[in-house]
């Protein structure tokens, strides 16, 4: 059985700086989304306890070919990539179509895993969209995942409760970061990653056309203005006095 893990290349958010309220992406390295790595770890854990082949799937610009090595080092057996510069910053609907078309080209897919949200946009739509496009059942927000024959037992963690659901494979599951701790690959694994098989397709080959008009338009994307006093106080006594003057303690 193949387990497909959909992974997104994102800028390393820890290194994005804000200048004049605008995010600056110059020289920011590209990495795989953090929660995507938990999805990969969940797949690798299933592989290690049974029999499965883990395929890291990604759609994006040419840089993905390099970024995906991180996944191959962390346990993916092969990579399936749809690369086109037109996919740079592509919106959720388009990415979902590309991923769904790519999954159709892979045989014997039992499970398609996603992080619950991407590292940069975190809108959490793509997993659900792909499931619908492929006509597959889904369970999102998984905090535990276990295979049982042709079914998966998934714990879905909601705000006020958790549900244990049984879903018939093939299925789409999106995972929470709490599901596991993603491994950090060793140097040997990183060196071997470059030799693992990679299938690279172009956008035309999966038959997806990027629509001329965007369905979501961004008017602005700015850091919120923070006007804070930033008063350095020397002691707890001084702090308490200030907070009393503010009227926020001793009410």
């Amino acid at each position: 059985m193949n387990i497909v893990v959909a992974m997104k290349q994102v800028p390393d958010l820890q290194q994005v700086r804000i200048r004049n309220r605008e995010p600056v992406f110059t020289d920011v390295p590209l990495v795989l989304g953090n929660i995507d790595k938990n999805a990969l770890e969940a797949a690798v854990a299933i592989k290690e306890s049974g029999d499965a082949n883990v395929i890291a799937l990604s759609a994006g610009n040419e840089d993905v070919e390099d970024t995906i090595k991180e996944a191959l080092a962390a346990g993916a057996d092969e990579a399936f990539l749809v690369l086109d510069d037109k996919l740079n910053g592509a919106e959720s609907g388009v990415v979902a179509q590309v991923l769904a078309a790519a999954v159709k080209k892979i045989d014997d897919v039992g499970l398609i895993l996603f992080g619950e949200g991407s590292g940069d946009n975190y809108s959490g739509q793509v997993g659900s969209r792909v499931a619908e496009l492929l006509g597959l059942p889904q369970v999102a927000y998984a905090s535990a995942l276990e295979l049982k024959g042709d079914k998966a037992l998934v714990t879905r963690s909601l705000e006020d409760c958790t549900e244990i659901v049984e879903v018939t494979l093939p299925a789409v599951v999106t995972v929470l970061s709490d599901i596991n701790e993603a491994r950090i690959p060793s140097v040997t694994q990183i060196l071997k990653a470059g030799k693992k098989p990679k299938e690279v397709l172009e956008l035309d080959e999966v038959g997806v056309k990027i629509p001329p008009a965007a369905s979501v338009v961004t008017v602005s994307n700015l850091a919120p203005e923070t006007e804070r006093k930033r008063i350095v106080v020397k002691s707890v006594a001084e702090l308490i006095q200030s907070l009393t003057t503010e009227g926020v303690i001793g009410r």
Binding site: S123, E132, V139, T162, V167, V216, V217, T226, L239
Partner: protein, 306 residues
């Protein structure tokens, strides 16, 4: 004029969506309820035209069925603007419904505003470092709005009508539901928050933190690792991108460096105090009062002074 349809599995959030729709000019609000007559009546009493689906084949655990039902109702109503709650169930359904309707979709929306015929939406982007203002340009629009963004509407006179939909046999079976036990704290409602992070030495220091929160008339909250890695506090108390977004009058932030994934959850507080042993901690940049000291000493001294 847009035709609005709303849906949430939760009554409180569905009520908020009625207010949301009206805030951007909806003359009439159509609301879908699935296997929940009580919610249907509550929404009708708030002025919504409710379409109630009673169908045992639809389980909320099977989002494919829920999205399919919503898609069928939207088609019958000619609804083009669909508001969902951006809780986990709502977000899971949003993407699926967007694929069914070929709709543009925005989730985690914290504010909406009509601008001409556009609905401008605000959401956190880049892990909370920025706030994006976006609108959906496609004919069909799905907007998932964060809970508590809007108040419940006043009374109105709506209606409840039955609606039938066809759903496929489910491939998702609910085995068990476990209610989150124990902690029912609502840190979003607290006037004051004492927020602890990884600077906290041990679980044994928590009673002193709780005592301080009590003296301030507030609650204890924490950064994500304190709850998910150390498990010293419940997940209900997490502040940040993957937790709660709080707007207390006073936030005392103790031993937290101030990564944006955390600060996004507290930056709307009226007064922010940062206590950190590192005078260059990022958190100091967003604080009104900065005290460079060991958080444990500060807790002890505040407890004896207040």
């Amino acid at each position: 004029m847009a035709t609005f349809m709303i849906y949430s599995s939760k009554e409180k959030q569905a009520l908020e969506l009625i207010t949301a729709a009206k805030s951007v000019g909806a003359a009439a609000v159509k609301a879908v309820c699935i296997n929940d007559e009580a919610q249907a009546n509550a929404l009708a009493a708030a002025g919504a035209e409710v379409l109630l689906i009673n169908n045992d084949a639809i389980s909320l655990a099977d989002v494919a069925a829920v999205a399919s039902a919503l898609g069928q109702v939207a088609a019958q109503l000619g609804a083009d603007t669909i508001l969902l709650s951006s809780d986990r169930r709502g977000k899971e359904a949003a993407g699926r419904l967007a694929a069914i309707l070929d709709a543009g979709c925005l989730t985690d929306i914290s504010a909406i505003k009509a601008n001409g015929d556009k609905i401008e939406c605000q959401r956190n982007a880049l892990g909370g470092a920025t706030v994006a203002t976006q609108y959906i340009a496609s004919d069909k629009k799905i907007i998932a709005i964060r809970p508590k963004t809007f108040d419940a509407p006043g009374a109105g006179s709506g209606s409840v009508n039955a609606m039938t939909v066809d759903v496929k046999a489910s491939a998702v079976k609910l085995i068990e539901t476990k209610t989150r036990g124990g902690d029912s704290v609502d840190i979003e409602a607290a006037e004051a928050l004492v927020v602890v992070g990884q600077g906290l030495n041990s679980k044994d220091d928590l009673p002193a933190v709780e005592a301080l929160a009590k003296k301030l008339g507030g609650e204890v909250a924490c950064s994500k690792p304190v709850a998910t890695d150390k498990k010293w506090l419940s997940e209900e108390r997490i502040v940040g991108l993957s937790g709660k977004k709080c707007k207390p009058e006073l936030a005392i932030i103790l031993g937290i460096s101030g990564q944006v994934q955390f600060t996004v959850g507290i930056r709307d507080a009226k007064v922010i105090v940062a206590v950190n042993s590192d005078e260059n901690a990022t958190i100091n940049g967003m604080a009104d009062y900065i005290l460079t000291a060991d958080m444990h000493d500060v807790i002890k001294e505040m407890n004896s002074s207040l």
